[in-house]
């Protein structure tokens, strides 16, 4: 690569970018304004909400035979609330005789880490508020008053016998669906409800005990909050009553202090905050990078294609990779600029006190951590901008790029969300998954955990991903179908078989969607046999026939119905046991370097059928039928549809992965992908579906027999499995030696410029 030319191109790109007012506004100015605006909006909202709450007087009504005793309880609660500390939803604190006993430990870290105070910012914000004020109003028809919003909630005080009969009525009503939302809401736990079993109707209630039911509407803030506070207050009062009663009868100590429970958080506040912040940071950064860089990326290749200037650039004496490198640098610059500017922006706003961070985010990050985080952010920005560049290079127009942007956006966000997964450590397979690894790494760094070898692994995997993406982009510029929109497309007019290669993935996507969605929506399919029959015959068999019919395909060609040499059968018979054993060996070996979940190894040999099925039925359901119909679909139609689009190695991998994805369970994907790859290799080498059917059915039968007779291959010593490797290699060699390749394959390597092997010699 010529650095001077890349520099020249880079300056050229930046100049054009900066002259494009639309891009500057959309990708630079807008994001710079949006984030502070959002934060500022949040601040205003929360202030407004707090003001609202401070001045709110919750209106309530009391009804029922024992209304007066409820009023008395409320009054005692109000007194307590006025004396004691602010209502925190922690009854133990509220009834504690002020300042006595062990309460000197306020300010202890254990208290600070109390979940009631720190986990939910909204609740925490209530701490410094003055006691809530309540106003009782008359309500003849409390239900309708509640619905109309005249009151925020109401209390119904039932006598013991009333409550008893209500319980009976409820038992009867349970069989019917009750339409009364308010009543239903009263029984779902709300704030303060969790300890309030005696205040609401509970199944474990003693007969004859009076009951107070609090009716509120969960769809209204004031109703939810006010009723919760009221319940807390009443619980406090009752607690105090009970303590006083016990003390009055000679109980020697404060009844609350009989058992004192406390949680002690030994994490430093920085670690706790870092954990919270570290989960959000990657999402924020990726989001900022995407929003900032996407406009620049779209313009840089797709925009140039549309304006026609890309072709001009391609006729100059720069290399494709130099063009791609310069464009990548441009997008990267924008991404880095935006992110740094946003970070700076945020610090300025924070420094000026315009925006306050919630207490949970009040963290101190060491300069080392900042450096490491920035060092990790750069590969993320490189990967994201390379990905954006790739879709821009792949799309023919600006509009097409926008179409691809959404799935890329979602995909990246899903990867980034890996940091939110509990218990995923960087020391796992995740270290080699681009973006997801950084997301997990950031979380670990924010709690002060630096796993240097795995951090380096993550960086290497990110840079590798970026390199591959860039190379891919530069290849896109070589594809003249994408560079110039000149080619006639007769396939669209002709339809039928000509269109099949382009539609085949869509067909399989549809089939996959049905397999995923149908079982959860159709009752008959929740049973194993039903699901099996539906997948095998409804999806794979019928789907294959439908593709043949709709696209008017030659069924012999589409299903690869071809004779093979006799030696192939020997090879396949050798492959039947050795494919499975080799798979277990390879995964076992690789888990020395990267731990695989154990479930994955077990899935190699396990089957999903219950043991009480007779053997012949298992063989029919799990071996013979999938061996035939799944092969029709995957090594038949899928391979037929893709074989002129992908080079053999990629073809084998893609068919294998799609085969794996159809076996939905997470830990089955890798083993079935591996099996799919092996079977597709057989199909490519023999050009026929029959050996594939034998291998598939044989492999399944072998796996099941091992399972049924309790042979746990995955626990065998690796040396034993190693012995099987020569068999596997020999079988593949036999297939290669007596190969009758799948007709019409693309050449293995790029040398012949996309002309298939059988066309090469023709002028």
């Amino acid at each position: 690569m010529n650095r001077a030319k890349i520099g020249l191109l880079y300056r050229h790109e930046m100049r054009m970018l900066l002259r494009d007012r639309r891009t500057v506004v959309l990708s630079v100015l807008l994001p710079l304004l949006v984030l502070p605006a959002i934060l500022f909006g949040f601040k205003l909202m929360s202030e407004w909400r707090r003001d609202q709450q401070d001045t709110t007087t919750y209106r309530y009504a009391v009804v029922g035979a024992r209304a007066d005793s409820v009023r008395a309880l409320i009054a005692r609660g109000a007194l307590l609330a006025a004396d004691g500390p602010a209502e925190t939803g922690d009854p133990a604190e509220a009834v504690d005789p002020a300042g006595t006993g062990d309460n000197a430990e306020t300010g202890d870290p254990a208290e600070a880490a109390d979940p009631a105070e720190t986990t939910d910012p909204a609740e925490a914000a209530d701490d410094d508020r003055r006691p809530a004020s309540f106003l009782e109003v008359e309500a003849a028809m409390p239900d309708s008053s509640l619905e109309a919003g005249d009151i925020d909630f109401y209390l119904e005080a039932l006598t013991g016998s009333e409550a008893d009969s209500l319980d009976l009525a409820r038992a009867a009503a349970d069989t019917m669906e009750s339409g009364d939302e308010a009543r239903a809401a009263a029984d779902t736990p709300g704030p303060g409800d969790e300890a309030g079993v005696a205040l609401t109707v509970s199944d474990e209630r003693y007969p004859g005990v009076p009951v107070v039911r609090v009716y509120y509407r969960a769809n209204r803030d004031d109703s939810r909050r006010g009723s919760g506070l009221m319940v807390d207050r009443m619980l406090d009062a009752r607690e105090r009553d009970r303590a006083e009663a016990l003390l009055g009868r000679g109980f020697e100590a404060d009844p609350d202090e009989v058992i004192r429970l406390s949680r002690v958080d030994v994490a430093t506040p920085e670690q706790a905050a870092g954990f919270y912040f570290g989960r959000l940071l990657p999402l924020l950064l990726v989001f900022l990078t995407l929003t900032g860089a996407s406009v620049a990326a779209m313009d840089s290749v797709a925009g140039e294609k549309e304006r026609g200037s890309l072709e001009t650039l391609l006729t100059t004496s720069v290399r494709r990779i130099e063009i791609v490198a310069a464009k990548q640098l441009t997008i990267l610059s924008v991404a880095l600029f935006i992110t740094l500017a946003q970070a700076g922006n945020l610090f300025v706003y924070l420094g000026l006190g315009i925006i306050e961070l919630p207490a949970e985010m009040d963290i101190e990050v060491s300069p080392v951590a900042v450096l490491v985080l920035f060092a990790l952010y750069i590969p993320v920005a490189i990967v994201v901008s390379s990905l954006l560049l790739l879709i821009s290079a792949y799309a023919k127009t600006y509009k097409e790029t926008q179409l691809y942007l959404l799935p890329v956006f979602l995909g990246l966000m899903v990867l980034t969300a890996a940091g939110l997964l509990p218990a995923v450590s960087l020391r796992s397979l995740i270290a080699v998954v681009p973006v997801a690894n950084v997301s997990v790494a950031v979380r670990e760094i924010m709690v002060g955990h630096y796993d240097i070898p795995m951090l380096l692994t993550a960086c290497v995997s990110m840079l590798l991903a970026a390199f591959l993406l860039l190379r891919w982009s530069s290849r896109m510029l070589d594809k003249e179908r994408l560079v110039t929109a000149q080619d006639l497309d007769e396939a669209d007019l002709a339809g039928g078989a000509a269109l099949f290669p382009r539609r085949v993935l869509l067909w399989f996507l549809g089939m996959w969607a049905i397999i995923i969605i149908a079982p959860s929506n159709v009752d008959a399919l929740t049973r194993l046999e039903g699901q099996w029959a539906f997948n095998m015959f409804g999806i794979f068999f019928l789907g294959s026939l439908l593709m043949i019919r709709v696209h008017r395909l030659d069924w012999r060609q589409a299903l690869a119905i071809r004779r093979v040499r006799p030696q192939v059968w020997l090879a396949v018979l050798l492959l039947v046991p050795s494919t499975l054993l080799t798979g277990i060996f390879v995964v076992g070996l690789s888990s020395v370097f990267l731990p695989f979940p154990e479930e994955m190894l077990e899935q190699f040999a396990s089957e999903l059928l219950p043991e009480d099925f007779p053997l012949w039925q298992i063989m029919l359901m799990m071996a013979l039928t999938p061996g035939i119909v799944e092969e029709m679909a995957f090594r038949g139609l899928l391979l037929h549809g893709l074989h002129r689009r992908l080079r053999p190695v990629v073809l084998i991998l893609v068919v294998g992965v799609i085969f794996g994805l159809f076996h939905q369970a997470l830990f089955r994907i890798i083993p079935t992908t591996y099996l799919g790859v092996v079977i597709t290799t057989v199909a490519v080498l023999t050009g026929s579906i029959f050996p594939c059917m034998l291998l598939h059915a044989g492999n399944n039968a072998f796996a099941f027999l091992l399972y049924r007779y309790g042979v746990e291959v995955e626990t065998w010593p690796p040396e034993l499995l190693l012995l099987n490797l020569p068999v596997f290699v020999f079988a593949l060699y036999l297939l290669y030696r007596y190969r009758t390749p799948y007709p019409g394959l693309l050449p293995f390597r790029k040398g012949v410029r996309g002309v298939p092997a059988d066309e090469r010699s023709r002028p």
Partner: protein, 248 residues
């Protein structure tokens, strides 16, 4: 072999995933000498543009060889592009650059000496009479002005070989005549010019030698007189038709 343009058995087979192989250019061969205008004459879809795109390395040949100033188009595409200026209706300019910046950028990116670039830009600006709007952005210019800037950017790095793909398509008579005048002038400067057209009169008027291309094959090539002699027809139109009929 020392010809600036040397083409032998050049073939382009597209492989369309659904249509199968499409033979756009089939084993064509020709050479051009310095100071010569060589015309590819053919109907739309005959393979003219594909041939010129292979010569300028936008497309890669499926088979055969093509050399520009001795550099193989498949082996040394960067060197090839350094020695060629390519003009076509599909190669647009950057709307956000000015005319001057455009010429300067294309001179520099094609490896023109940095110290000599300003003088070269001045020279082209003067030659094409674009001083008045040299500092205006391209997107503010009329199509006639844009065309002049486009030619100037093709010549920016002073390449010995110029490839014009249907240069007069879409131009009005005045601009088309201006284009023809420029081609003659460049020829006089000793440049090798390869150009394609489907307009008979243009080929008749400008070309030293003409190749008639049809369905990817060169049916005949030579000077106008030689072609007249072979067919017995006088007008290029008749000559063209007679070759096509012969091939059918």
């Amino acid at each position: 072999m020392n010809d600036p343009v040397f083409v032998k058995d050049l073939t382009k087979t597209y492989y369309d995933e659904s249509r199968g192989p499409v033979h756009a250019v089939r084993q064509i061969g020709f050479t051009c000498s310095p100071g010569e205008i060589f015309g590819l004459l053919g109907a739309n879809g005959a393979g003219k543009t594909t041939t010129l795109r292979m010569l300028t390395t936008i497309l890669k040949p499926s088979a055969g060889t093509a050399k520009i100033m001795g550099y193989d188009v498949a082996e040394e595409p960067v060197e090839v592009r350094r020695h060629v200026g390519f003009y076509s209706a599909t190669t647009a300019l950057y709307p956000r650059l000015t005319a001057r910046e455009t010429i300067e950028f294309f001179a520099r990116i094609n490896g023109y000496d940095a110290a000599r670039t300003p003088a070269r830009v001045d020279e082209l600006v003067e030659r094409f009479g674009i001083e008045e709007y040299a500092r205006a952005r391209i997107d503010k210019l009329s199509s006639g002005m844009k065309q002049k800037v486009a030619i100037a950017r093709t010549l920016a790095h002073d390449p010995p070989i110029l490839v014009f793909d249907e240069p007069t398509v879409g131009l009005d008579v005045i601009n088309a005549l201006e284009m023809q005048a420029i081609l003659s002038e460049l020829k006089a400067q000793g440049k090798t010019i390869l150009f394609s057209t489907h307009i008979m009169s243009e080929a008749e008027k400008l070309c030293d030698r003409i190749a008639i291309i049809h369905e990817g094959r060169i049916l005949a090539s030579g000077t106008l007189d030689a072609l007249r002699e072979r067919t017995g027809a006088h007008y290029l139109e008749d000559i063209f038709v007679s070759f096509i009929q012969e091939a059918a």
